[in-house]
Subunit: 341 residues, 2 copies
């Protein structure tokens, strides 16, 4: 595939399997998606994991002297290590040398670096981390935000998340008129904690979005909502629970299915079907999380990301660039602000 | 089985399948557990669903003229309908005619009725709803509270939940030294929203419990914690998500496993093993939720409860009575209060 003109800066040093899996996923994205890849990090380490006969067209290594470890305090580390790979990658976006950035490293550090280097979009008080869950309806994912950036949210933050999520859902996930839900403990308008009650009112009155009401925990995977907004505390608990529950179920299947002779025979026969079950429950297909509300396209991946997840995240980043998500977010906010004048 | 002397008041009118399934579960509990059952509600309707040759020893019908519907505003309904089945059932506990109460009706109404009729335990600011989740370790359930009674919690409420949960886990669920977790977004002491940060400190300093630190969403089902405390907003979202996710996975299994001829053969062979998988994921085995912090033993079930869930909940209620949970909660708080004097 030829170049699309989209270039993605990759923090090659971030993640449990960096740089090998990061580079592998990025190279695949370069070939299959035609994006230009800027690998940011320790040149020697990166070169060591690029296979010998790799086509270097569309591939660039941008040296960075430092990296931020998973146990560092993010804001301090980002400030002190000015030449950390995540900072250098962010600067590539800031200086228009790249259209988007991806990191599977310390997500708090990626967030801090994005805030310090790129800044917030006008009209946004707090950027949010969004992530896409598969739902019971095949082909209908749901975008949940915030899943961890803001642990104490004011109602208007949730409203901003809804507007940003709606644009992302429409232009990247392809939902024509995204149905927006507010994560809450009941369907009725009168349910919820103080923040949810006030946010419900704001969302109800907002004409920029298609607000479909409260979404309960049971509605998250129903496919009835395209975007669900919540504060980063409950969103993070939900995300980590959802990620773990797949593993729990797979373990129960592994323990129970092969029991007895019938079990062993049946399990052997069902092997290909069980593999499909695993795939549908797998998060990797849905790639990384995105940082919505900073002045640039930023995707962040799990520390445990391997090449397929990296590839998926880069594909999402390319979609976001191709569909001018950043420009749409900017202009949406100009409209909103002039309306409220 | 002979009578144990434990008597349980059952709101026979509460629940989607009331009174038939409620009565069926209660009759089974009477036979198998030897408890005395007081069925509260419309005498005619109740009698109509008791099978003709039922042994009436240990069974009593306590007439109640009214019932509270699922869509009624709970506090108002409980106040206005003084003769509602849930109120009459609570009064049986208050007047020592029953040791515990169970309702699968409007849970908000059950909560309101318990508060108004029984009152709170001394030292408890807010009662909590606790529910038991299965974990990845067979035979090691985890008690989560609060799952919906208190949507805005102060840190000291969470501390009270922890103390109550610890007693319940030890004396009803049989965990020798229950490991208590605080639901949070990171393992580190410095993570969390304002409430979680302050609650962490209180739990750390509390010598009545075995505080094991923060529990993330991924730790809920790990079996590493015996009790996890959280505010009722996040707890309710988590509970409803967890209940729904089992159904989602079962649907994926139903869709994928029987595909193709191999799939049909394999699925047929594995039928008994798949049934065990379903059982392990099934919530009914673990019965209802309990109301901790009111001056009586109260269990509440899902509106959709059928006889097996009713039976499980009554068994839990009997365990709570047998193990003197209420008395232990009362004395624990006397100790706590004298310590803080």
């Amino acid at each position: 595939m030829g170049s699309t003109g989209v270039s993605i800066a990759i923090d090659a040093m971030g993640g449990d399997y960096a740089p090998a899996e990061i580079v592998a996923g990025a190279l695949r994205a370069k070939e299959e998606l035609g994006v230009k890849i800027l690998l940011v990090g320790d040149q020697q380490q990166i070169e060591a994991v690029i296979p010998p006969k790799t086509n270097m067209v569309g591939l660039e290594i941008v040296p960075a002297q430092e990296a931020i470890a998973m146990d560092e305090e993010p804001l301090n580390a980002v400030r002190k290590k000015r030449q950390a790979s995540i900072n250098v990658a962010m600067d590539l976006v800031k200086n228009k040398q790249a259209d988007a950035v991806f990191s599977a490293g310390h997500s708090g550090a990626a967030m801090a670096s994005a805030l310090l280097r790129l800044g917030r979009l006008p009209g946004i008080d707090r950027p949010a981390i969004g992530t896409v869950f598969p739902t019971i309806k095949a082909g209908t994912p749901v975008l949940i935000l915030d899943v961890g950036a803001n642990v104490d949210c004011r109602p208007k933050f949730l409203e901003q998340f809804a507007v940003m999520g709606s644009i992302y859902s429409q232009y990247v996930l392809g939902m024509p008129e995204p149905k927006i839900g507010l994560l809450n403990i009941g369907e009725e308008d009168t349910k919820g904690n103080e923040t949810a009650l006030r946010a419900h009112q704001l969302l109800r009155e907002n004409t920029q979005i298609n607000f479909a009401g409260n979404a309960e925990g049971r509605d998250v995977l129903s496919g009835e909502f395209d975007v669900i907004v919540c504060d980063g505390f409950v969103g993070n608990v939900l995300l980590k629970f959802a990620e773990a529950v797949g593993g729990v179920i797979l373990q129960i299947l592994r323990e129970e299915l092969p029991q007895g002779i019938r079990g062993q025979i049946g399990t052997a026969i069902l092997k290909p079907n069980l593999k499909r079950v695993k795939q549908r429950m797998d998060h990797a297909e849905h790639g990384g999380a995105l940082l919505l509300g900073v002045n640039g396209i930023c995707f962040i991946g799990h520390g445990s990301s391997e090449a397929p997840s990296i590839f998926s995240a880069i594909r999402m980043a390319k979609e976001a660039v191709d569909n001018q998500v950043l420009q749409r977010l900017q202009s949406q906010y100009q409209i909103l602000q002039s309306e409220s004048d």
